[in-house]
Amino acid sequence: MLVVDDLHASIGGTEILHGLSLEIGDGEIHAVMGPNGSGKSTLAHVLAGRDPYQVTAGRVLYDGADLLAMTPEERAAAGVFLGFQHPVEIPGVPTMYFLRTALNALRRARHHEELGPVEFLALVDAKRRLVDMDRSLLDRAVNDGFSGGERKRNEILQMLVLEPRLAVLDETDSGLDIDALRVVAAGVRSLRAPHRSAVVITHHRRLLDHLVPDQVHVLAGGRIVRSGGADLAAELEAHGYAGVHEPGAEPHPVSTATAR
């Protein structure tokens, strides 16, 4: 589904990603872990098409298409979703309206009928129960006055409503208590399907215990320095990142992607 090939990206003239390569097959969940400043969020933003990040070399293929040539909204229409580490407040725009505008924009782009208010309400009501989100939050402006946990639930709710083919979750688990973490994990699991994939960027192993990723990658110094199975997360927790990026360490070869 996704092939990241020798990606170099910078912001403000500083290169953050130095030749990152990654392949994700259909139906897979990949975790990307790594210390602060390793380029995890840069990877997420580059995949979503955030403006100030500049790709200086490399390519990203999404279902064989050049993802980097697409606008953010085109990427969303193609099924890419970014769960924000710091979800943005939008005063004056009710969450419900935001969600419906987004969903209908995607449906228009895919030549589907727009959903009317009644159908939409029913859809959202079912999804918000999954993330245990209070109905009243949906009438409030997007993330305006939301707690950290409420914002993250809102991200997951958006993901469930928009049903992306590739979800990129940027530290969605940071700052969450155990209950909220379970909700996030349940949300991601509920989308699991042979045609959907996810990249879960995280600092901690806890979310991965709930998700059981197909692969875990260690990102350090702007490249993937090691890849392994779910047990790599446990190993990292026990020994830290120190052991995986000693000088001269070669990145482990990325395991073969599932054929599309």
Binding site: P72, A76, P91, T101, A102, A105, L162
Partner: protein, 470 residues
């Protein structure tokens, strides 16, 4: 402090304005003597002071030269027959359900007006021209508000030259449920000059009503409206007031709200300004006795070729009064918005609670906003705050929406609507809100976000149709 003994207005009168102005104030034998005297006095004031220029503090950003090319007043007598071009279908729909008075080119058009069923007990609504034939104590008082002098010539000109308008009197305790609606329409007519409609609202103790004023004009022809609405609220009276300014893009729309609030009375006034080549809505409120409350909200959507000026003077003349102001501007193209808010707390007005906020959104690099919040405090133990902000659309919020699949154009429109919503919400939830939203849409509110590249506003439909949003 009573209305007539009000001290010299805080606005400074104009000086050094160019050119002699001759204002025609012919005697009108059918009007009471006091009115003839007052009209002559007002005309003389205009001749003595001239029209405001940009040297005048409160007119610094608003040029009226082009408006002065239009004759200042229509002949005092004449039929409304020349405005047959206006039909009921041209008026805003649906009617708001109460009394509706339609004022065309400054004169009440009886055929287009209606009482909307039985009048509420204690309410009297009368065309001003009729009321002026009689000697009305309340009108004599209204003309006396500026016996000491005017803030500027346009205000004086209305005193001198108004032909018609509406007198609304609410007896003590009168409760008027349905909104009283006044529609001002300017239509092209031979010899049409400036129109000076005048509305006087006198509410007795404890009376309650809603007044909605809508300004419209035909799509072509330059018209000038110079309207004054005077509101006198008795003890504990409450008025909900809405102004919807949707005048044509070639017109000048000068309007003014003057209010005097007695003890414990409450005025909520909201403005939505979308129309006019030049729109200037002036608010001048005196909180004249203890416990009076004022709430002012304004939203101006100023597009290419437009200029909206919002001078506000809130005069805390008595202790323990409250005032709240929230003005928002959305300026696109080469539009120019102005907020000029002045709060005065008079000596002795202890316990004043006054707040003023002005926020503006600039949608193109040619758009301009001037915001001048001013506080003048001459009392102790007051809580006064003011703040002003001018900004652009939040790029993070824009990206957030786009990352969810919303095109750049639509994302901009969503953010602009969100910005405007806070003020639109103050228009309530019923038919008045509907009217306000319709006007905002017609002004391209949803499409205004599209203006980031200096293009003229396009319709929401076009915004959606734009491929890729770039």
């Amino acid at each position: 402090m009573t209305a007539t003994s009000r001290s010299v207005p805080a606005r400074t009168p104009p000086s050094g304005t160019a050119g002699a102005v001759a204002v025609d104030a012919p005697d009108r034998p059918w009007e009471p003597r006091w009115l003839n005297v007052a009209r002559r006095r007002a005309a003389a004031w205009v001749e003595a002071h001239g029209f405001p220029t940009v040297k005048h503090e409160d007119w610094r950003y608003t040029k009226i030269d082009a408006a002065l090319a239009v004759p200042l007043a229509a002949p005092p007598q004449g039929a409304v027959g020349d405005v047959d071009t206006l039909a009921l279908a041209d008026l805003p729909t649906p009617p708001l359900g109460g009394v509706r008075v339609v004022v065309v080119n400054g004169r009440v058009a009886a055929g287009l007006s209606s009482t909307g069923g039985a009048l509420a007990p204690g309410m009297r609504v009368e065309p001003l021209a009729d009321a002026l034939h009689k000697s009305q104590g309340s009108l004599e008082q209204a003309w006396g508000w500026h016996a000491d002098g005017y803030a500027h010539a346009l205000r004086a000109l209305n005193d001198a030259a108004t032909l018609d308008g509406v007198l609304i009197e609410l007896a003590a305790g009168a409760l008027v449920e349905d909104p009283i609606e006044i529609v001002y329409a300017s239509v092209p007519a031979p010899g049409a000059g400036w129109s000076h409609p005048r509305v006087v609202v006198v509410a007795g103790a404890g009376a309650r009503a809603t007044l909605v004023e809508t300004y419209l004009s035909g799509p072509s022809g330059s018209s000038v409206t110079n309207a004054v609405t005077q509101v006198h609220l008795g003890q504990g009276a409450e008025l909900e007031h809405c102004v919807l300014q949707g005048a044509g893009m070639d017109s000048f729309c000068f309007s003014s709200l003057e209010a005097r609030l007695a003890r414990g009375s409450r005025l909520s006034s909201r403005l939505l300004a979308t129309g006019g080549r030049v729109g200037r809505h002036e608010v001048d409120v005196v909180l004249a006795d203890e416990g009076a409350e004022l709430s002012l909200d304004g939203l101006f959507l100023t597009g290419a070729g437009q200029h909206h000026d919002n001078p506000v003077l809130v005069d805390h003349a008595a202790p323990s009064c409250t005032s709240r102001q929230l003005y928002k501007g959305v300026v696109s193209g080469d539009g120019h918005g102005v907020f000029n808010g002045h709060i005065v707390v008079r000596p002795g007005a202890d316990g004043t609670d006054a707040a003023q906020v002005n926020k503006n959104l600039l949608l193109s690099d040619r758009a301009e906003v001037d915001t001048r919040p001013r506080l003048e405090i001459n009392a102790d133990e007051v809580a006064c705050s003011h703040g002003a902000a001018v900004g652009q659309l939040d790029p993070d919020a824009l990206f957030y929406l786009r990352s969810r699949g919303v095109s750049e154009g639509e994302a901009r429109a969503v953010l602009v609507s969100g910005f405007a919503r806070e003020v639109l919400d103050r228009f309530g939830r019923g038919s008045i809100r509907g009217r306000a939203e319709e006007l905002a849409m017609a002004a391209g509110l949803l499409a205004l976000g599209e203006d980031g590249h200096g293009d003229d506003a396009v319709t929401a439909g076009l915004a959606r149709a734009r491929p890729g949003g770039r």
